[in-house]
């Protein structure tokens, strides 16, 4: 190889490796794309009066089963309710102390990188470009791991259905968004507590509201970063007597957020990423364990072979030694000729004995 050829070769290698790196960087690590332009909803709790109109709207547009208690009865909000197969959204009342009660609407948060979708082993869940997280029941096995994975206790399962039980959850009215309509709950809110818009705009709106009324709001937009960010976000009022927190400080917001049933300890990573480290060890184990155990097996076999060879060698040496001792005795007393004869006869006899023993072993 001359110098020119060598340089060409090295140059090519460099370009190829650079291209390879670029491709890897471009590919990224996120399995579920984060749609920057997706929609979201901001729930401003300071405006919510717990009238349950959103529940009624959701029930109507999704053709869900009519509830036993009419939507006009607002006392049910005093109970700790959760989403069910026929109630995809519920509004609950929370006690902040100092005789201060607030309402929070519960529904799917439509995470940017949803735990349910990461957990589903038959790919039933989908994060759509419009921001919604939807579920397709046609390939659902009914394992309910999505319900285990969801940090907000949102998906529900039709336990009473014998033959075709499926998951039920808020869809962000994905079918209505496609037609250019608002989600049922947002449309029916009379207090303007639910603001629909692009997620990134909603964050700006929320910031502005907090800046304009720093004493009214807790300086924390729940869902901005929690669990990797969610399309639906919550603004809560600052409880009376509580000092304002540092902007977006999860630890400081935790006691107040806990009062309205929100967990700020989920971290800023998407929940699915917590399992990626464990999943990442799979190729390592598949590729390396056979080497370790195959190697151990090889060592065992070799050890056994060496032990066997050593034993055979020891037996042969012992035999030769005995034979020589006897022959030397004979040589001393009867001369060399007799000794040679005796050696030949004894070797033949021993060989015959060995052959017999070997044959016997095989028969056994």
């Amino acid at each position: 190889m001359n110098r020119r050829k060598f340089l060409t070769f090295m140059g090519t290698a460099g370009v190829v490796s650079a291209l390879g790196t670029a491709k890897v960087a471009e590919a990224g690590v996120h399995t579920f794309p984060y749609y920057d332009n997706g929609y979201g909803v901001l729930h401003d709790m300071t405006r919510c009066i717990g009238c349950r109109q959103c529940e009624a709207g959701c029930n109507k547009v999704n053709n869900l089963k009519k509830p036993d208690v009419p939507f006009t009865d607002v006392t049910v909000t005093h109970k700790r309710r959760r989403t069910t197969t026929t109630e995809w959204t519920v509004v609950n009342r929370y006690d902040l102390g100092h005789n201060e009660f607030v309402f929070r609407k519960i529904q799917c948060f439509h995470c940017n990188d949803p735990a349910c979708a990461s957990a589903c082993f038959t790919k039933c869940y989908k994060k759509n470009p419009d921001g919604s997280v939807t579920y397709d029941d046609t390939q659902c096995v009914g394992c309910r791991y999505c319900m285990v994975a969801c940090p907000f206790y949102i998906p529900t399962f039709e336990y009473e259905e014998a033959f075709d039980p499926i998951i039920q959850k808020c869809t962000f009215c994905h079918n209505r968004l496609e037609k250019g309509q608002l989600p049922g709950c947002v449309e029916s809110c009379t207090m303007d507590a639910l603001t629909f818009g692009r997620r990134k705009d909603l964050i700006n709106i929320a910031r502005k509201r907090i800046a304009e009324n720093p004493d009214k709001y807790l300086d924390y937009i729940y869902g901005e970063h929690d669990a990797g960010g969610t399309a639906w976000m919550v603004l809560m009022p600052k409880p009376k007597g509580m000092p304002q927190i540092a902007t977006g400080n999860a630890a400081e917001a935790a006691p107040a957020m806990k009062k309205i049933g929100l967990d700020t300890h989920l971290g800023t990573q998407p929940m699915g990423e917590l399992t990626y480290g464990a999943l990442g060890t799979v190729p390592m184990i598949i590729s390396f364990w056979p080497v370790i155990f195959g190697g151990a097996y090889g060592m065992t076999k070799r050890r056994e072979a060496i032990a066997k060879a050593n034993q055979e060698k020891a037996v042969a040496e012992e035999r030769q030694k005995t034979l020589e001792t006897v022959v030397q005795c004979i040589e001393k007393e009867q001369g060399k000729e007799a000794a040679d004869k005796a050696r030949a006869a004894m070797t033949a006899a021993l060989d015959e004995q060995d052959a017999k023993a070997e044959k016997g072993g095989e028969d056994k």
Binding site: C140, C143, E160, F293, Y297
Partner: protein, 403 residues
């Protein structure tokens, strides 16, 4: 004792006598199987809600916590024994390998059967191969369990071949090939076991908000794998005790002469694994700053688990194996197995949803428990059937190993 072993011949293939006679044990078995059958019918005609307390807060209860998590873990004896015996060349345990492989095979088979009760669409289980959700830990578990069940079936299939070989000679050719690839199957078995035993722990990595901090740890997969090794060793001892009580007359001289050695050696291994498991869990608790939680009711539960059901059996095992005290080793194995079950119950049920008010918490109902009892009864019945017909606890005279 050896003369009592009934080896089925070409003319008399079946030996159903011990299973059909009306002994108290058999009568209880029949009753449990009948109850299980009724619950099964209700489950598959009325839905999961009709036979369980599972709800939207607790989607995984008794069936996953016991049948799946404990079932897989307690079947770890299969890989543990075959690795010791075939890879590490500890020939003195050769008589323990077949019962362990049989237990593992039945364990996994019935894990899958029990899973069908828990799934909303049991017939769609194979969908995971058509729509693989590769980001899901459950996918890895499913794939590994399916593959490992196949491996275990191949490993175990040697025994039915020896049983039926006289009648269907082609099985002997098959048996010969399985013997040839035996070491390959063993190594595949340990790889797959490492993967899914640990993945059962990884399943809970996704819900840090729901599992109590004393049990949630990024090292959950490792804890599950290490405790499965302890479970594997313990189950060999535990099961040895049970089969000595129930099927003594089906053991040959080799099995009987090796059994004390197997118990003592496996106890020694279990003691060491349990000690290291104890240290791992304790260090993990300390480095995650969880000491503050020790002074709560969950803390008491954690201390009970760690000291009562990890450290105590570890000491008993160590003492038992040092003093050559087989009954003490067996007592330790009962505690260790109970401890593993306790740990899996804690992670899947007791410490799961720890932050919810008591009214929203889960407790299994009777039909749910009866399904689990049904599954265990089926495993025991299948185990007995196989031991009465196939060379598990004895070596078939036609297929004795030379060593």
């Amino acid at each position: 004792m050896e003369h009592k072993i009934v080896i089925p011949t070409k003319d008399k293939m079946f030996n159903m006598g011990p299973m059909l006679s009306l002994t108290p044990g058999n009568i209880i078995t029949y009753i449990l199987l009948a109850i299980g059958l009724v619950v099964t019918i209700v489950r598959f005609t009325q839905g999961i809600g009709a036979v369980s307390n599972l709800d939207d807060y607790q989607p995984w209860g008794m069936w996953i916590g016991f049948d799946l998590l404990c079932g897989v873990c307690l079947a770890a004896g299969g890989y543990f024994t075959t690795v010791a015996c075939y890879v590490m060349g500890m020939k003195q345990f050769s008589s323990a390998a077949r019962p362990a492989v049989l237990t593992a095979f039945l364990g996994y088979l019935f894990v899958v059967i029990a899973l069908l009760y828990d799934l909303g669409h049991p017939l769609r289980l194979p969908y995971m191969f058509f729509f693989p959700g590769t980001t899901s830990v459950l996918f890895e578990v499913g794939l590994c369990v399916a593959t490992y069940l196949t491996v275990l079936f191949l490993e175990f299939s040697v025994a039915p071949c020896e049983w039926l070989g006289k009648k269907f000679p082609f099985l002997l050719t098959y048996r010969h090939w399985i013997e040839k690839i035996g070491i390959l199957l063993t190594i595949m078995g340990v790889c797959l076991s490492t993967l899914h035993q640990s993945s059962l722990g990884s399943l809970f990595l996704i819900c840090p908000g729901k599992l109590h901090p004393l049990w949630y740890s990024p090292f959950l997969p490792m804890f599950f794998f290490v405790s499965s090794m302890a479970a594997g060793a313990s189950m060999v001892v535990f099961e040895g005790m049970l089969s000595h009580a129930g099927m003594h007359e089906y053991m040959d001289k080799k099995h009987l002469s090796q059994s004390a050695g197997v118990t003592l050696s496996f106890s020694k291994a279990a003691a060491m694994i349990l000690f290291s498991y104890f240290i791992m869990r304790t260090v993990d608790m300390l480095v995650h700053g969880n000491v503050v939680y020790l002074f709560s009711s969950y803390g008491m539960w954690w201390l009970l688990e760690m000291f009562g059901f990890v450290l105590t059996p570890a000491f008993l095992y160590a003492k038992g194996s040092r003093d050559l005290n087989v009954p003490l080793c067996r007592a330790a194995s009962v505690m260790a197995v109970a401890g593993i079950v306790l740990n899996r119950f804690t992670i899947s049920m007791i410490a799961y949803n720890y932050d919810l008010p008591a009214s929203d918490r889960y407790f299994p109902n009777l039909p749910e428990i009866m399904v689990s009892v049904f599954v265990v009864t089926m495993i025991v019945t299948a185990y007995r059937f196989i031991c009465y017909h196939m060379p598990i606890l004895y070596e078939h005279p036609d297929f004795k190993e030379h060593d």
